[in-house]
Amino acid sequence: MNILSVKNLVKSFRDVIAVDHISFDVPEGICLGLLGPNGAGKTTTIEMLEGLVKPSSGEILYFGELAATDVSQHVGIQFQHTSLPDHMTVKETLKLFASFYTESVDLDELIKLCALEDFANRDARRLSGGQRQRLLLALALVNDPRVVFLDEPTTGLDPQARRNFWDLVQKIKAKGKTVLLTTHYMDEAQYLCDELLIIDKGKVVETGSPDTILSRHFDGVLIQLPKDSITDVSHKLDELTKNYSETGSKFEILTSEVDATLSELMRLGIPLQGLQVRAPTLEDLFLKLTGHQLRA
């Protein structure tokens, strides 16, 4: 069953069309990743789904019905930038938000789930980045929502805190919640998301599971060669294949037959010092689809 359906969603601000006829479905219990460069229309799309922004046209259906005002009872949101009321402890903040909903989860359990026990009575302004994100996630979960929106939840966190947060999201998924995640980290998307929706210039440019999308766009693996180990390389590479690109200090060759390509490279006399073979990632796909690097 689709917990959320979006049909021909449009949002325009004066003469700018931020979201241009976007349609997609979200089956219950999955983690959907919304990817796209800055300014692609991700946040606007998400804010329309959250009921914060009114769509110019199009339909948003929750649980098969048109979004109504009480949708907020079943939705949990973690904003990217948000402040909390001053002078309140972690527990008081959770209590405050819990009171807004007709039903809420047991706060002690929530505190435990989000690993907030050690500073439940600390002023919320005195939390570290990772602790703060976990509190914001706890706030998003306080009403036991069926759909949880996470907007760039790990931006600015250290690798350890990110890993912790991912584990937390996995736990939430295990509870059967549907998660909508936006992120600029492709490893995060690959790790957490069952389905992806890549948006650019207000339109959906690709959709599917990470593996499906990758195999759709990349047939094979990438062979990387350091640029400075070869001279006049483009001439030689042109002989070999058309399927190469330059990124930073490297040449990248996409191939489905590694052995053949490697022996061909040797035949052309290209030194293989510093050569690397790796599988294409979402980041490669992103570059290919949107033409510009994601900013973290």
């Binding site: 601000f13 914060l52 009114k54 930038h81 948000t82 001053d86 002078h87 309140m88 008081e92 009171s99």
Partner: protein, 336 residues
């Protein structure tokens, strides 16, 4: 609905009491002012003031006391109002030239001195006695300081917080919950109102205890005027904060609103005798009405309904400001 309202209400109260610096400042500053004025104006002039009643002809055969220096003679038309001034120790003695009688306030030491002077010069004057406590500057200024404190507390305590919440995204976060604007705003308004009333009680009864300030009218009327005034100030603050997300702009607007009132609303000095244009302007400011009505009740013993013109003005402002403010209110003011 009530649960959500009450949660925000409690949270806001907590925020106020935990913000130690502003909490202490809210109570400490007005007391500081009162002490300052009690000190400055406590014993200022030592000249005697004598009120004089009588036809113009009566001045032709002035009593000899008029020849003494360091006595200010103030003519009055109306005996009742002159006697009232005497009762409040604003004059030390009152003379009726035609009938050759004088009134003196039994509890006034300066009245005793002027009486001795009169007797030594014009012993044929007949004695009349009144009683009444002195109205000191501190009695006069207390309603002004209460009004000013209410004004600052309401203007900055509601509008500024809302703009800050809007700017840093707290309002947006709250909008994403089932909490609605009416619940949110009414919680903030009532939290501030309760705080203002508590501070008002502390100030009023504190001053009463330390300086033995006067209250000729009813306490209920006095506090009712101040509470109505607080509500008007809060609605003004809401109007200022209804859309903007700039703290600087809001701070500026709040200062533009509050400083003219601080200077011109008769907090420190009576508006009687001020230029006409200034008075006209002052009567457009809500604080003027709060101060005049509460002052009339406390030091003149006026009734609540005798202050109807002030009260009607405040009520009209309250309805107007809160109506427009609620209509224009926006959570995040991105005009989406």
């Amino acid at each position: 609905m009530f649960k959500r309202y009450f949660a925000v209400f409690t949270a806001r109260n907590r925020e106020f009491f935990r913000d130690r610096s502003s909490f202490i400042w809210n109570i400490f500053f007005p007391f500081l002012l009162l002490f300052l004025f009690a000190f400055i104006f406590g014993n200022s002039q030592d000249m005697f003031k004598v009120g004089v009643l009588g036809d113009e002809d009566a001045y032709l055969s002035k009593p000899q006391i008029f020849e003494l220096r360091h006595i200010q003679f103030i003519p009055y038309e109306d005996q009742d109002s002159a006697v009232k001034k005497l009762q409040q120790h604003q004059i030390d003695m009152l003379l009726q030239l035609d009938k050759r009688v004088y009134w003196v306030n039994r509890s006034s030491p300066k009245g005793y001195m002027t009486e001795q002077l009169l007797m030594s010069k014009d012993s044929e004057y007949q004695r009349r006695e009144v009683d009444g406590r002195a109205v000191r500057y501190i009695d006069f200024v207390l309603p002004g300081i209460l009004g000013m404190n209410i004004m600052f507390s309401c203007l900055f305590g509601v509008g500024y917080i809302i703009v800050r919440y809007r700017k840093n995204g707290v309002l947006k976060r709250l909008k994403a919950t089932p909490l609605n604007a009416v619940e949110f705003l009414s919680a903030h308004i009532s939290s501030r109102l309760i705080i203002v009333v508590c501070v008002m009680f502390i100030l009023f009864f504190g001053a009463h205890w330390i300086f033995d300030t006067l209250m000729f009218g009813s306490y209920l009327s006095f506090f009712a005027v101040l509470i109505l005034g607080a509500m008007t100030m809060i609605s003004m603050s809401l109007l200022i904060a209804c859309r903007t997300r700039s703290e600087e702009l809001t701070g500026g607007l709040l200062n533009v609103a509050s400083w003219p009132m601080m200077a011109l609303s008769g907090v420190w000095f009576s508006l009687e005798g001020a230029p006409e244009a200034l008075q006209t302007f002052a009567y457009m400011l809500p604080l003027t009405h709060i101060v005049e009505a509460s002052r009339a009740i406390s030091i003149e013993g006026a009734t609540f309904f005798s202050q109807a013109d002030h009260l009607i003005f405040l009520t009209v402002m309250l309805v107007l400001f809160s109506g427009i403010g609620a209509w224009l209110f926006s959570w995040d003011s991105d005009h989406r």
